[in-house]
Subunit: 229 residues, 2 copies
């Protein structure tokens, strides 16, 4: 039932159709709800009301209920949502059937941190390889993942059905990866570098810019102080 919407252009997103009717923000929150639900389950909590989920995330209960409505989930009891059932339901929305392979480009501190975070998780997302130019890293494993030379990017990615890449290399060399990423058939990019990269349509890009976010925090701190005075 996906609706084909041509010519849309989200911020940081080069893509010519929006797959179906679940809003971007709802997708983000679903991921967050799921993690919370798994935490609660681990604590022994089996049911949560919409206002429980809302309080934990600092949002309103209406928003929680509306998000669940949008994905077609309903609890049919008034005793709160069954955490286990909801986790699975969200999984049906978010997860793909097969494991999604991810390649990390640039095994510096950030690349390493994220890889470490992901290895050994029960997720449908799996970081399966990394690329770097450092001879000390290439040919070894880092954070549990084999590191190849960046020159082998296109072949390795194609051979192993990798669809997503995590750009964590120095900003200055990021643009040089644009062409290999397209050539290798990558479909999703999480861009940690501080450079806007204009990928062609059909590649989903999420920018993740630490500098900008810090400047934003600083701005609001400054302005709030100004108001107080």
């Amino acid at each position: 039932m996906p609706i084909f919407v041509d010519g849309k252009n989200f911020k940081g997103m080069s893509i010519n159709f929006v797959p179906n009717n679940i809003p971007e923000k709802t997708i983000e929150r679903l991921s967050e709800y799921r993690r919370t639900l798994l935490n609660e389950l681990a604590k022994g909590v089996t049911h949560l009301y919409s206002h429980n989920l809302a309080n934990i995330h600092g949002i309103t209960a209406v928003q929680v209920r509306r998000d669940l409505m949008l994905i077609g989930f309903s609890s049919d009891t008034k005793r709160g949502y069954d955490a286990r059932v909801l986790v699975d339901f969200i999984g049906n929305i978010l997860d793909s059937e097969q494991v999604m392979n991810i390649a990390v480009i640039g095994m510096g501190h950030i690349g390493h941190a994220v890889t470490q975070h992901f290895t050994g998780k029960r997720s449908k997302l799996k970081i399966t390889m990394a690329f770097d130019v450092d001879p000390d890293k290439v040919g070894r494993k880092s954070a549990g993942v084999p590191v190849y030379h960046i020159d082998d990017f296109v072949t390795k990615v194609r051979e192993n059905n990798v669809k997503i890449t995590l750009l964590s290399l120095p900003t200055s060399v990021a643009p040089s990866m644009l062409r290999p990423i397209v050539e290798a058939g990558i479909k999703g990019v999480l861009n940690f570098t501080s450079t806007p990269l204009n990928f062609p349509e059909g590649i989903y890009v999420e920018d993740y810019d630490i500098i900008t976010l810090l400047e934003k925090v600083a701005y609001f701190v400054k302005e709030c102080e100004a108001v107080r005075k």
Copy 2:
């Protein structure tokens, strides 16, 4: 001229007033424009049209012009914006007069990466100290910044007029920092952990959740594939 707007509640933001009329998204883009302009200046480019800036960032020229309108910038020539002048103008909006001190909580890979990125930059934002529990790190410098024990957080932050903190410690221990952060008088938090933290009003929080963003990228990749079939 800031307008006091009571009772607003942004996602991931506990705050009871919005300082003035510049939208959040515009603030983000201003930070990005500035970085681009500095890059272009370094390359010898002195003037840029709105569509130049737009192309670089993958947005429309109208949006660029509207953002500049909102901050009251105008070029009064039709030869494009003077990069140098615009950089300074954006600086007047975004930057505070004094340096904003930042403390990093958790000097693991992410904390180290960000700190390294920031040290030695000509910015109004300065990472001045870090906190950890690891005896190998405490008492030494890491990425050019002194590392103190987390127990000294409140005193050190107060002594040194630190207003912003960067939460890069393991998710499981993040909630334990909530109280010290409030007590120390921190006003802005950039939260790298995957836990929603409910800070009291008056503290601006920006969540920066890698897992959620990766899941989002994976979702859109999956959905786009589904549409293609």
